[in-house]
Each structure stands twice: as structure tokens, then as C-alpha cells.
């Protein structure tokens, strides 16, 4: 991936030097070995900080919302789909953007890596398709394909849908056998088991809101969690409030979520809250044939309708 990083730096430097953009949004090395950090670069000399590896999990589209300047942004497949969403939702104008597309082969799951290292990862490096991590359990080298985030295993668009520059050769798209096996596994349980599954899933939540802060879709001026008259959801860690929060957060993303996995990547408690959003993604595919962010200028499913939409459940 090193050549991709070099290419990204070269494009970013060129864009800043020629004053085509005011800022470039990208990733730099984080303070922890398995983490990268989103960064906004204004000077061509700082482009040397830009990196690209399997720790660039977050979604940079999150930093576009409402910006007024001209922006160069690095976008993997899912980020590019979110940028399309942002353009449709009038959060950014296409002509403000220079999109530096990066064909993506997936991101490494931070939980899997730390399990592999036997605790906190103290060193991380990548060479080709091999990832090496060190930790209490010593040094381990694995193939990246074995430590991918679960959303990367069911990715439908690894190459950016829109871009102005490309920082690498297009990669082969995945064709997963059954994209929604996880949703179907939950569907096969009875109501009590489903309830228990989500209770267990959310038991670690501390309501830190990292998931909504990392999500490019969460940009309401006042979030429903902060509304107090009426108060839709309590502030504490009452299990019902946690469940209400996660449910509503996911529902707000219905028909808009690109399954980028930024929520899970940001979660300090490693909660797999995509179990909520995955359901609405599947429902949008099944009921409306909708995939988010694949085409510019198409209204999202909850902002439009057909007179013959399915309604078997309505009396």
C-alpha cells in the first residue's frame, strides 16, 4: 500500500501547490500503532504526513459537512458513496470537491488485531498483503484477508463511485455469496432470543456517542439525544435508553447508510452496532431495490415513494 500513499501525497501536493483546493482531508499516523488519525492539511509541505494503510477505517466524508472552502478529499469506496449522499442531501457541492479516489481492499479490524496480539498492540506494520502486529503475545504476521472488518467482507463497492484523481489501479469487486447472512441469522431467532441478542450486544455501551460522532450521516444541528422537551431518550446507561438510542441512531441512517463501518471502528467498547443498520440496508434492497450512494442525483428511499410500494403488513 506504500505506493498508494506516495501517490496520494503527490496528488495532494500538486492540488495545494496549484491552489486548486484550500485543504486536503486525509489520514495521518495516529498516536496508537493500530490507529490512524483524520487530518486536514493546508500546506503542501505537510502532505508528507499523509498515509494509507489498513488502519484508515474512519470515514472522511464526516469532515465535509457544511464546509465552504474548496476541498481535496481522500475517498475509499464507501467514503465515495457517502460523498454522493452528502451531495444529494445538499451538505456539500460537487464543484467544491476534488475527490482523490483510492481503490480499497478492506480495513483491518482493530479488535481482531488486538486479540491476535494478546492485548494492546505495541507495533503495527504492513508489507503487501501481510500485516505484522506485536503485543503481549509476541509478534504475529497474518494475511490482511484474515483480519478484515466484517463490513469489508460484504463490501459491494471497493472502487470509488465518483472521483477526480485516482491513487491506484482499480481492484476487483467482491461478490459475496450471501451478503446478508448476518441479518438472516438474527431473523431465524424467536422474539425473545432477538431481544436477548441485542441486550447482550449493547451491554457494554457507555453512551460515549463515538459511533454517532464518527458517522458522516449524523449532522443534525441538535441530535435527538440532546432534545429535552420532549426527552425522547434518557441520558444515562439505563438499558432501555441505550437500546432506544441505538435504535433511533440506526433508523436515522435508514436508506443512507453505506455500511462503511466507521461506527464500529470508532467504538471503544467494540460493540457491533451494525447489527441495527444492516437490517435497514437489507430492507431497502428487498423492498425498494435501493443501494445507497451509487448514483448522483437520485433521492434516497425515505424521501420518495412509489404508489405500489409493498404494504402486506398494513390492514
Amino acid at each position: 500500500m506504500a505506493d498508494v500513499a506516495l501517490k496520494i501525497r503527490e496528488i495532494a501536493r500538486e492540488l495545494l501547490d496549484s491552489e486548486k483546493v484550500d485543504v486536503v482531508i486525509g489520514f495521518k499516523k495516529g498516536t496508537l500503532p493500530v490507529m490512524s488519525e483524520p487530518t486536514i492539511i493546508r500546506k503542501a509541505s505537510d502532505t508528507k504526513d499523509l498515509i494509507w494503510d489498513a488502519t484508515c477505517r474512519l470515514n472522511l466524508c464526516n469532515y465535509l459537512t457544511g464546509r465552504k472552502d474548496r476541498i481535496g478529499i481522500i475517498a475509499k469506496g464507501c467514503d465515495a458513496r457517502n460523498i454522493v449522499g452528502h451531495i444529494v442531501e445538499n451538505k456539500i457541492k460537487r464543484d467544491q470537491l476534488v475527490i482523490i479516489g483510492v481503490p480499497c481492499t478492506g480495513m483491518a479490524d482493530k479488535k481482531v488485531l488486538s486479540d491476535l496480539a494478546g492485548g494492546e498492540v505495541t507495533a503495527y506494520s504492513e508489507a503487501g498483503d501481510q500485516i505484522t502486529v506485536s503485543g503481549p503475545a509476541g509478534e504475529k504476521t497474518v494475511s490482511k484477508a484474515d483480519v478484515l472488518q466484517s463490513n469489508c467482507c460484504t463490501c459491494i463497492k471497493r472502487n470509488p463511485v465518483i472521483f477526480d484523481e485516482m491513487a491506484g489501479e482499480p481492484v476487483e469487486e467482491l461478490s459475496p455469496d450471501n451478503r446478508f447472512a448476518d441479518v438472516e441469522a438474527i431473523a431465524s431467532m424467536d422474539a425473545a432470543a432477538k431481544w436477548g441478542y441485542f441486550e447482550e450486544l449493547l451491554s457494554g455501551c457507555t453512551r460515549c456517542y463515538a459511533c454517532k460522532n464518527a458517522c458522516p450521516l449524523c449532522y443534525c444541528p441538535t441530535c435527538f439525544v440532546d432534545e429535552s422537551r420532549p426527552q425522547w431518550v434518557g441520558k444515562g446507561t439505563d438499558p432501555i435508553d441505550i437500546r432506544t438510542y441505538h435504535f433511533l441512531r440506526a433508523y436515522h441512517c435508514a436508506g443512507r447508510c453505506t455500511d462503511c463501518g466507521a461506527c464500529e471502528a470508532a467504538c471503544p467498547m467494540d460493540i457491533k452496532m451494525r447489527a441495527f443498520t444492516r437490517k435497514s440496508i437489507k430492507d431497502c434492497v428487498d423492498n425498494y431495490g435501493w443501494e445507497t450512494g451509487m448514483k448522483e442525483g437520485v433521492r434516497p428511499p425515505l424521501d420518495t415513494f412509489k404508489t405500489d410500494d409493498p404494504e402486506a403488513f398494513i390492514r
Binding site: V233, L248, K279, D283, F313
Partner: protein, 146 residues
Amino acid sequence: MQEFEPKIITFLCNWCTYGAADLAGVSRFQYPANMRIIRLPCSGRVSPKMVLSAFRNGADGVWISGCHPGDCHYITGNYYARRKFTLLKEMLEHTGLEPGRIQFSWISSAEGVKFADVARTVISEVKALGPAKGMAKEFIMSQEVA
């Protein structure tokens, strides 16, 4: 022991189903009194927040009803609502709500008979499910001052 009587929060659109409820009333159609009706301008006004809020405050069931598709007072409100309800119902049941606790219907203001029918069905289905366990938040209503 007393028989379980469910509490069902009912969101009705002003122009159709609320009219149907009125018609059912003046026509003296009988149905059990387990419903707490909330009148809204349109079924499109129903937000998932309201539904969750109902359950969080102790409802055993929620019933949402509006105009038939094509008959919306605001022309398209219930078409948008229909998509919203599809995703809402699916996601609620995905996360462990028993099927039947949330119900939807289209009832025009001329269908007093259908209103009473659906009301009876909804109530008996929720009754059969029993009290909604674990869905309501235990609020701290008052505190003892020493």
C-alpha cells in the same frame, strides 16, 4: 387474578381514521376500551421517536392508522409514511419486538365498521401477547427526602 388489560397507544390521522373512530362512536359500534388515541394531522407525522416513546412509557402495543393510499388529505403523506412504517416495523421486530405489538392500518372516515373490527383485532392480539416485558423504562418518579 384480574384479566390483563393492555394499554395500546393509537396514532390516528385526523382526516380518515379519526373520523372513522368518530363514526364508530356515533354508530354505537362496540369495541374494548384499551386504546389511548392520539390525533395527528397525518400518518406521515408519526415519527419512530413517538413509537419508541410509547413503548418506553409503558405501552403494550402501538397502532398507527391513516388514510388509504391515494386518499391522503395532503396528497402524498401516507405514501411517505408507508415506507417509513415498513422499515420501522422490520427493524423493531429485528431487535426483538414481538410481531403484533406494532400494528398498522388504512381506514377511511366512512369505515366505522372496519375501525371497530380492526380495534377488536389489535386489542385481542396484544392481549394474547401479554404485558410488554422489559420495554418500559423504570422512571424514578419521586424521591424520599429524609
